[in-house]
């Protein structure tokens, strides 16, 4: 292997070493922040999924696949679950449980 390629290989090794080991030498200051962000992202995803299920149930009602009674029961259950998720999101934001606020796309 010629000198240039050898140097290039050493540069690759050095770059990998720096990229991989730097978090151990200088831990990022936002680890705790990341914890908060992690949980929020998880909850936001769960919220989106729940909303999608509510929409699905509504589509099934209009399509005649669900009776009005079955839809009401399913819809109520899904909304209860969605509310629980919204309350967890509020708690993470440090807000009191929503009464009638219109904050962050959650008008009451």
């Amino acid at each position: 292997m010629d000198g240039g390629l050898l140097l290039l290989l050493f540069l690759v090794i050095a770059a990998v070493g720096i990229a991989v080991l730097s978090p151990l030498r200088n831990p990022p200051a936002d680890f705790d922040e990341e914890t908060h962000g992690d949980r929020l992202a998880d909850l936001e995803l769960r919220k989106e999924t729940k909303y999608s299920e509510i929409r699905d149930a509504e589509t099934d009602l209009h399509a005649g696949k669900l009776s009005v009674e079955d839809h009401r029961e399913l819809d109520r259950a899904l909304r209860t679950e969605a509310i629980a998720i919204l309350e967890q999101i509020d708690r993470l934001h440090g807000r009191p449980p929503d009464q009638d606020g219109r904050e962050n796309g959650r008008p009451g």
């Binding site: 690759v12 991989v20 080991l21 992202a41 005649g64 079955d70």
Partner: protein, 716 residues
């Protein structure tokens, strides 16, 4: 450069090893910094392996024969298009492709889950890094793609001619992307089991990757079938070959997983089933790689003996035993409190569909490994052929088509009988009309299984169309949109659901094509001289004249066939047989042109109703005296004299007009298979397409508003 490539692989191995160590340390409470470090190691692994692939590909493009792999699989005359793909025609090159794709997928999923699933991600990283370590170790210690040749030849052996087909450029990377893609949900399933967090979060986080893997695998299988149909010269697209089956098995179980994971997301059920299915899918993907690379079963696809079969077997044993132990130890956490409310529900039919898919996989597995099973039990190898596979797979495939039509019609939890009657009325009526029409006006009833499949296929397509119609109608009830806009709106609002429906329709179209082309094809093998003709499936085929051509790479003998129906010309087909010269000079300077690999170029007239497929095998006995004389007289002649002699032989083939053996096939509806594949791919893309952030926000706020209002009312 080979040393540089080897160096990169060693760096990759050490990086993968470190990523696994750091991830495990982070998972076991060593601190968040270890998890971040392991994630960065995976990013670095992807970068290093990308560099290794670039080094190898550039060697192929430059025809650098100091690379053993390049000398064995390429030549200066290989078109650049095929030079770029020659990497995966070899064992070491394809293993490099495997681990490279794995590193890209791993980096992608770790980036996507950077701020999610904090407990599961370190374990998933450890699994992915462990797999990467295994493949890097193979490349470093067993089958390096960077072996060097001390005295490089001036010319390489060239790419296996059978692989010189556009489908082959994409088939292996697609298959491998499918195989490797399933490693992502598998790794997250293991992570979820390890930390006992077995809700649907791991499924949601990896859902897109599962669908991407399934899509790649589907494309890979279809491209393989297309290659077989147009390149192998036997007239079929699926021969139940072990390597074909190896790709079908993970597809079947992966399809089951894609359905049952929705049940876990929606109903929090089937948790044991889901982790078992994804473990099964990934194990079968490894088994697929093992089958191709071990040479344990005879296959037209086995391009060389392997030295890594034992290693793969060891990995498969570890994956199976480890996953089984983990699932058993977590059974109390995996139990769901929910049960299926009614047999008339979407989840019940999803489960039924799962059982059919797994049953199909079992049949394919049994048939594929029967030679080994029979050898172990009786002492001699016996194999089963297409009729055996057809006997068991056809009824299951028919059931699958029906289920893929019923599933979309049902709602979650339960549907009343009255609703079933209403929802099924139109698709059932269309199916019955199709049945009556086919029975009365065609000869479809001569194959009852095909007739049933056509009927169920019509039912499925009608039920999918009905779902779109109902969706549009429901949308128009709450908006003032026209039908076209409403269609776009319903698909945009639930891409996953409607994308899935399109895939169902695509699969039905594929299976209709398979049934028609299998049951109603007409085939004859005839020996003709120019001027003679043969009849096949109502067509009159006349051998007009022989053809020949010489190029840098190959010598080809062909035929011009005039195909007529009721006296009217339908097509002029030109099948041919190409001969690629061997580098073995012991065959003689002229004989070596006929002693190497040969391929069939089919003459094909494709159409929606039927394909007219032809292949030919020239009779070269008339050329043998000339070949023998050339071998003697031109033993010490230069390349120009040899080229002149070959050109002379090509001309004399046309003048002598010798007989040729032809395979003539009239294959109904094969095009439907490719069209169904394209429809299915379109559906998969719809399901995969990310929602626009803006529209998501708008919808979210609308529903949030409504939810908030109802919440207020409930509290009041």
């Amino acid at each position: 450069m080979t040393t540089f490539g080897r160096g990169l692989l060693i760096v990759a191995l050490l990086t993968a090893l470190y990523a696994a160590f750091a991830a495990l340390r982070g998972a076991r409470g060593g601190g968040r910094e270890w998890v971040v470090s392991s994630r960065r190691a995976i990013y670095a692994l992807a970068a290093v392996l990308t560099a290794a692939v670039i080094v190898l590909e550039s060697a192929f493009v430059r025809s650098d024969f100091s690379f053993g792999l390049v000398a064995d699989n390429s030549s200066t005359t290989t078109p650049t298009f095929y030079k770029l793909t020659a990497m995966w025609s070899s064992q070491s090159g394809s293993l490099l492709l495997w681990v490279w794709v794995l590193s890209l997928f791993s980096a992608g999923v770790l980036f996507a889950t950077k701020r999610r699933l904090r407990e599961i991600v370190p374990w998933a990283t450890a699994v992915l890094a462990g797999l990467a370590t295994f493949f890097c170790a193979l490349l470093v210690f067993k089958v390096s793609p960077f072996t060097s040749i001390a005295n490089p030849p001036t010319e390489g052996a060239g790419l296996n001619p059978l692989l010189r087909h556009p489908s082959m450029m994409f088939h292996p990377p697609m298959l491998y992307s499918g195989y490797v893609g399933f490693a992502i949900p598998f790794a997250f399933a293991i992570g979820a089991l390890a930390v006992r967090r077995v809700d649907a979060e791991w499924i949601r986080a990896t859902r897109r990757f599962s669908l991407i893997a399934w899509t790649f695998l589907s494309i890979g299988i279809l491209l393989g079938a297309r290659w077989s149909y147009s390149e192998l010269g036997w007239g079929g697209y699926w021969g139940w070959d072990p390597v074909e089956n190896a790709s079908l098995m993970p597809w079947l179980v992966g399809t089951a997983f894609l359905h049952s994971m929705i049940v876990q997301e929606k109903r929090d059920m089937l948790k044991v089933w889901n982790v078992s299915l994804i473990a099964g899918t990934f194990t079968l993907a490894l088994l697929g790689t093992f089958l191709v690379r071990s040479g344990i079963l005879d296959s037209i696809h086995a391009f060389g003996a392997s030295t890594v079969g034992g290693w793969f077997l060891g990995l498969i044993a570890v994956v199976v035993a480890g996953t089984a132990a983990l699932i058993v130890s977590r059974l109390p956490h995996l139990r769901s409190e929910r049960r299926i409310d009614s047999l008339l529900s979407r989840e019940a039919f999803f489960l039924l569909n799962n059982l059919v898919l797994v049953g199909l996989c079992f049949v394919v597995f049994w048939g594929t490994f029967f030679p080994l099973i029979s050898e172990a039990v009786t002492g001699h190898k016996a194999s089963v052929g297409p009729p055996w596979f057809d006997r068991y797979t056809v009824p299951l495939a028919v059931a699958l088509v029906l289920l893929s039509g019923i599933g979309p019609l049902l709602a979650w939890r339960r549907v009343t009988l009255a609703q079933v009657r209403r929802l099924f009325a139109v698709p059932a009526a269309i199916a019955l009309v199709t049945l009556a029409g086919l029975a009365l006006f065609t000869d479809a009833s001569s194959s009852p299984a095909s007739l049933v499949l056509f009927t169920f296929g019509a039912f499925t397509i009608a039920s999918v169309a009905g779902e779109f119609w109902r969706g549009i109608r429901a949308r128009r009830l709450v908006s003032s949109e026209g039908p076209g806009t409403a269609l776009l709106s319903v698909v945009r609002r639930n891409r996953r659901r409607y994308g899935g429906y399109i895939v169902h329709a695509g699969i039905a179209v594929v299976l209709i094509g398979v049934a028609a082309s299998s049951a109603f094809n007409h085939q004859v093998d005839v020996r003709l001289v120019p001027g003679q003709s043969a009849d096949v499936g109502g067509y009159h085929v006349r051998y007009l004249r022989p053809t020949s051509s010489v190029s840098n790479e190959k010598l080809a003998f062909g035929a011009v066939l005039d195909v007529r129906k009721d006296g009217k010309r339908v097509a002029l087909l030109r099948p041919s047989r190409s001969y690629f010269p061997s580098l073995d000079m012991r065959m003689g300077p002229i004989g070596r042109f006929f002693g190497g690999e040969s391929t069939s170029e089919v003459g094909l007239k494709a159409g929606l109703r039927r394909d007219i497929w032809t292949a030919m095998q020239p009779d070269l006995s008339a050329l043998q005296p000339g070949i023998r004389a050339g071998n003697k007289q031109l033993a010490n002649a230069g390349p120009k004299a040899q080229a002149f002699a070959i050109a002379f032989l090509a001309t004399s083939y046309q003048q002598k007009s010798p007989a040729a053996t032809f395979r003539l096939i009239v294959n109904p509806m094969v095009t439907w298979i490719w069209l169904g594949g394209i429809i299915g791919l379109g559906g998969a893309l719809v399901a995969l397409w990310p929602s626009a952030l803006a529209s998501r926000r708008r919808i979210t706020s609308l529903y949030a508003a409504r939810l908030g209002r109802e919440l207020s009312r409930a509290r009041a």
